[in-house]
Amino acid sequence: MEMFRVLLVDDEREFVTTLGERLEIRGLTVRIAYDGPEALQALEAEPFDVVVLDVRMPGLSGLEILKRMKTSRPDVPIILLTGHSATRDGIEGMRLGAFDYLMKPIDIDRLLEKMREAVLGRTSTPAGGD
């Protein structure tokens, strides 16, 4: 597995820490942020190959964070995580520059494939909510 540096952004702490641990087992370097301001700060301060961002978070929404990230670091691809009801958010997110979106619960192999595509600059294969 490539040694990607990934920023995971989700307010569901148990979910995101477990996912982070699983990605680390697979050789990725993981940084976790639990809200928008922390994520934006991390993205300014540290180098990342890819961001995985939950769309629905309290406070600053995922789409708002996406917009700001695309302004400050347009080079870093962003993969959105959506709930089932949020397909519209995923589509809107792609319009705003997200690489793709996946629906929770995610399949880790699918996420890894999506990250690889994003980092290596390949066109996204249809995901649209797995």
Binding site: E12, E14, F15, T18, L19, E21, R22, I25, R56, G83, H84, S85, K104, P105, I106, I108
Partner: protein, 220 residues
Amino acid sequence: MQEHVRDDAAFMGKITAGATHELKNVFAIVGESAGLLEDLLQAPSSRDFPHRERFLKALTSIRDQVRRGTHILTQLNRFAHGADSDAAAVRLRDMVENLKALSDRFLRQKALSLTFSGTQGADEVTIQACPVSLQRLLFTGLMALAQEVPQGGSLSIHTGAEADGVWCRLSGQAGVLDEAAVGAIRRCFEEEDVAALLQALSATVSVQGDGVLVRLSRSG
């Protein structure tokens, strides 16, 4: 739909949609936690872990159930969002998939299987209708049919478009319904609330030996 009924449906829909969203997060955490345990058990250092195979088997079962639960929640969430509006473009294929997932429990009580046989002519058959009312009408037809077919039988749903509307056929095996069964299903659609539903949707129903045909007019 009457205004207070619409408000009640919208309220139920909103609460259900919110709850399904939360439950999906619960499943996401369960799924990731099970996945992490699998990862750890697959590591070479865990080869001698006692009961390793039994743990892995149990984790596979958890993963399968997470997938099953997620599917039901996804469909329940879509159903709940049907109450967001009393007139929307309804894709029949989606509605049938929704109906299939959410009626499974009821059909299993008679060991019935339900398949979607696809859409005639076009992939996308849509109609402007109240999603909750339409779903209720199809559910009524499905349950009436299920009541009359023999235990362990199979049912199918087929949809299509015609000149000024769409149709949805709920079928059992050919010739499965005798006259008494056809009469019983017809009576379901004659009940006051169902008749009102048909009228509100500009729908007609015909019941024959192989099942129920629901027609919805676009011009209604």
